[in-house]
Each structure stands twice: as structure tokens, then as C-alpha cells.
């Protein structure tokens, strides 16, 4: 008999299996919602699917009466802008810091322990400091994400740089590479896919810091909206927003994964 570890689902089978948990969750929700609404038609905890459609219509297709903006897209735009700026800064710091720390022993001794200590500070603990120093505007929110994400990326990328086989670095020197060329032509190109991996892994925490910052001080944004409507127990708004955030995060992850395979085919697992 074939062992369980050797049984592979077909392409369609794998897709169906992957969709199954989502479907189960959805069905469970429908049952729960129907049961609660049967007890109390005014129940707010598990609204019926029709309520979500109504929310989507008012939030994503209609202008807000007070601000004249379409809230759904206003929030999405504001949040994505913060996130993308913060991630770009973090990636730049990550690749430069990681390369320098990974390639040059003196910089490793100088900055390594400091970055390791920075990465250990809980970012939310310094959020008040950021708000005090940088004000309540965009800068503080972006700074929080960068502070939470960049040290981890720097550490990860520098670790990957030190993991390159010593033989490779010696070989490059016998081919006449200076420290500069060794860094830019041998080490750096091999760190790009590692940077993408690190970005993908920190994407979750980046969203966490974004939502936290928006919940505390903001006038628009996905996190702001969720925490705003919490006062009215508006699950019909919160749940679609959560699903939307998940979808955005998942898409970003997929884009990064695809970009890695396209741009760095040599680094794909074989």
C-alpha cells in the first residue's frame, strides 16, 4: 500500500482541498448567523450576508454624507500608502544594513549587537514616544512600522549574507574582486531574493503596526474605521473590513512571491 506521505493530490484536488476550510468557515458562519437572527432579529454580532452587501454598497459605492468621500477607498488608499512607504523604507534599510553588516566584519562588530537590541524593543512600547516626538501625523505611523519591521529585516538579510559559502568569497577574491566588487557583484545579488523572503515574513507584523497606529491616532484608514465603528458594535462593517485587509495582505504576499520567481529564477528551490 502506498504510504500517506507519498500520496499527492491532483492539481484540481489540491485547489479543492485548499478552498475547503474557507468554505467550511463560511457555512458555519451562515448557520450561526441564521440561528442567532432567528432568536433575535436585531442581533448585531453575526449579521446576515445581506447586511454585508448593504455595507459594501454604502461604504464602497456611495459618498459619505459628511465628508463627501467614498469611505472604503479612502481608507484603503490611506492605509496602503502608509504601508507601502514604510515597507519601502524598511526594505532599503534592510538590504543596505544587511549587506554592510553581513559583508564587512568591522561593521558587523559595530552595528550587529545594536541592531539585535533594537529588534528586541517592542515597537508598541515606543509608540507614545513616536507620537510625542513626531506628532500625530503620518510620520509617526510610518515610523512605527519601520521601527517594528526594519531591524528584523536587517538581521535576517545580514544572517543570509554570512551564510554564503566561504569558498565563494575566496574564489571571487582569486578572480580579483575588491571588497566593493565582492559586495556589489557577488553578495548583493544573492541577497535580493532573501530580502523578498524577509519582507514576506514581516508583512504580518507590518499590518499589525499599521492597524495599531491607525486605531490610536488617525482620521482615516482601515484600522481607524474598524476601531471607530466598534463603538456601535457594527460587525457588518468590521467583518468585511477584516476580510478586505486579509485579501490585501494575501495579494501583497503573492505578488512578492511571484516577483521572486520571475526576477530570481536561479534562487528557486529545485
Amino acid at each position: 500500500m502506498t504510504r500517506l506521505v507519498n500520496l499527492q493530490p491532483s492539481r484540481g484536488g489540491a485547489l479543492a482541498l485548499g478552498a475547503l476550510p474557507f468554505l467550511l468557515l463560511f457555512v458555519a458562519y451562515l448557520f450561526g448567523s441564521a440561528a442567532r437572527l432567528a432568536d433575535n432579529p436585531d442581533d448585531k454580532l453575526l449579521p446576515a450576508p445581506s447586511a454585508f452587501v448593504e455595507t459594501l454598497r454604502t461604504y464602497a459605492a456611495e459618498e459619505d454624507r459628511r465628508s463627501g468621500e467614498v469611505l472604503w477607498w479612502l481608507d484603503t488608499g490611506a492605509s496602503l500608502k502608509r504601508l507601502l512607504i514604510a515597507l519601502s523604507i524598511s526594505a532599503t534599510l534592510g538590504i543596505l544594513g544587511g549587506l554592510a553588516i553581513g559583508a564587512i566584519p568591522y561593521i558587523r562588530s559595530f552595528m550587529g549587537p545594536f541592531v539585535a537590541a533594537l529588534a528586541m524593543i517592542p515597537p508598541l512600547a515606543i509608540l507614545p514616544i513616536l507620537f510625542i516626538v513626531l506628532g500625530l501625523g503620518e510620520v509617526a505611523k510610518i515610523a512605527l512600522i519601520v521601527f517594528g519591521v526594519a531591524p528584523c529585516i536587517i538581521r535576517d538579510v545580514s544572517l543570509r549574507a554570512t551564510e554564503l559559502p566561504k569558498e565563494q568569497l575566496v574564489k571571487a577574491q582569486t578572480l580579483g574582486a575588491s571588497s566593493w566588487l565582492l559586495s556589489t557583484r557577488v553578495i548583493l545579488p544573492q541577497l535580493w531574493p532573501k530580502l523578498i523572503d524577509a519582507l514576506r515574513l514581516t508583512l504580518g507584523s507590518a499590518w499589525l503596526f499599521l492597524i495599531a497606529a491607525e486605531a490610536i491616532a488617525s482620521t482615516e484608514g482601515l484600522g481607524y474605521r474598524i476601531f471607530l465603528v466598534r463603538r456601535y458594535m457594527a460587525m457588518d462593517v468590521i467583518l468585511p473590513y477584516v476580510v478586505w485587509i486579509t485579501l490585501l495582505a494575501y495579494t501583497m504576499d503573492w505578488l512578492l512571491k511571484t516577483a521572486r520567481a520571475r526576477l530570481f529564477p536561479w534562487a528557486e528551490a529545485r
Partner: protein
């Protein structure tokens, strides 16, 4: 020109003696094969020549000058593995040495310089029979192709000395014959002095113009680290060894067992 002179060379790590009082002279264009038991300092000797290790005592001279304390383009190296750059295609791997020396800041050649480098790489690519694989990445090559490329990659920089650390150790026995032919051809065409470590006795006799056996002269069973290895046999071989029959190995094997 690249003669190597070793004078009373010692290499010690703390109280472990690896190489003990090694004295040797290797003439220019010699093909030196090195054999010996594991852990008897063959690789350490190569690393000293490479410049990644420094002698504890004594002198290691190339053309009368001490070996620089870091690797350089005058001494090429081929390791058993990991000496190719996984992010570069076969052609780019081959041209890398030329790009390093031709472009100090960019590390990339452009225009006429690039065409010249490509031409040079092209002829080497043909010599190692990898034209068809020019656009592949190293991970898509077989072990034998990888090692051929790695050798050519070093040779393109025209090193005075080529160091080979068990280059064919991980390869199928069937393809080593091709590898021997290629390395001999490159050696003859490029005026290099070669040091090659091998575990294969037959290979060491076939390829080299000179065979060095590293071993410990003295051994203290209670403290194996007390004594280091040195060259116990220094055997000149026929310069036309490619066509000469392989010498009788039995006496040497017996001596090593004793």
C-alpha cells in the same frame, strides 16, 4: 614565472601541530599532485598558498616573495564545490574575472571591452565543451560541468599558480578521464604551476609532474596533535605522463600502510 619555495614551514593551531618543518622547492610550470591521509595538512598547505592562513614559523615564498596575506588573482583556486556563483549564468561566471579586473567600480564590461572579454570566454567555453550550456545557471549543470566551469573561471584570469582542492573528489569516476584531459590541456596552454590535492592515487601519478605525499614522520598515540605532517615522499614523475603507463603503486601503498 611562479616557483614556490618553502623553508622550514610550521603551522600550528594553539598546541596542535599541523605542518612540521616543511622544506620544499617547486619549479615554475610544475604540476604537483598531493596525496595523504585525511587531516594531515594537505588542505592547510593549500590554504597557506592561497593566503587565507598564515604560517606560524618559516617562510612560504612565491618567486622569492612572501605569499600575500589574502587571496589574489595571481593564485587561482578550485574547491570541491561552492566555487561557482549561483546567480550568474555559465557565460557570466566565466567572464566574472575579466569584469573584475576590467571595471573597478561597476564590475561590468561594456561595449568593445565586453566583446573582447566575450571572445576570450568563448574560446575557453569551447575548450571545456560547455557552449550549449552558456545561458544556464550553475545549479542546472551536472557536477562534472560545474567543475569544468570552475577551472575555466580561474584560468581565464591567467593565474601564475592554480590550486585544486580535490576538484574531482565528488565526481563520477567515469567522467574524471575527460576532466584530466581538460586540466592538462589548460595547464599546457596557460603556463601555470599547479598544486592539486587528490585522494585518488592513480590520478596523482597520471596527472602530475611531481608527487608529494604528506604524512606524519612521528606519531604519539596518546597525543596525536603533538606532531605535524610533512612531505614524506617527493616523487618526480615523467613529464610525458599522459602517454606513459601508470607506475607500480604497490611499494608506495605498502610504505603508507607501515
Amino acid at each position: 614565472m611562479a616557483s614556490v619555495t618553502v623553508k622550514h614551514l610550521w603551522k600550528e593551531y594553539d598546541d596542535q601541530v599541523v605542518l612540521e618543518n616543511l622544506t620544499l622547492h617547486v619549479a615554475d610550470r610544475e604540476f604537483v599532485t598531493i596525496i595523504g591521509a585525511s587531516g594531515c595538512g594537505k588542505t592547510t598547505f593549500l590554504r597557506l598558498l592561497l593566503g587565507v592562513e598564515q604560517p606560524t614559523r618559516g617562510q612560504l615564498l612565491i618567486d622569492g616573495q612572501p605569499v600575500p596575506p589574502e587571496p589574489g588573482p595571481d593564485r587561482g583556486i578550485v574547491f570541491q564545490r561552492y566555487s561557482l556563483f549561483p546567480h550568474l549564468s555559465v557565460m557570466d561566471n566565466l567572464m566574472l574575472g575579466l569584469e573584475f579586473s576590467g571595471s573597478r567600480w561597476l564590475g561590468k564590461l561594456l561595449g568593445a571591452k565586453r566583446r573582447a572579454a566575450k571572445e576570450k570566454a568563448e574560446s575557453l567555453l569551447e575548450a571545456i565543451g560547455l557552449q550549449a550550456a552558456r545561458d544556464k545557471f550553475p545549479s542546472q549543470l551536472s557536477g562534472g560541468m560545474q567543475q569544468r566551469l570552475s577551472i575555466a573561471q580561474s584560468v581565464i584570469c591567467e593565474p601564475k599558480i592554480l590550486l585544486l582542492d580535490e576538484p574531482f573528489g565528488a565526481l563520477d569516476p567515469g567522467i574524471t578521464a575527460d576532466m584530466h584531459e581538460i586540466i592538462l590541456r589548460l595547464w599546457q596552454a596557460n603556463r601555470m604551476t599547479i598544486f592539486m590535492i587528490t585522494h585518488d592515487l592513480k590520478e596523482s601519478f597520471q596527472l602530475g609532474t611531481r608527487l608529494l605525499v604528506f604524512d606524519k614522520r612521528r606519531n604519539d598515540p596518546h597525543a596525536p596533535e603533538r606532531y605535524g605532517a610533512t612531505v614524506t615522499y617527493d616523487i618526480p614523475l615523467n613529464r610525458k605522463k599522459q602517454t606513459a603507463p601508470v607506475p607500480d603503486l604497490a611499494p608506495l601503498l605498502a610504505a603508507r600502510r607501515a
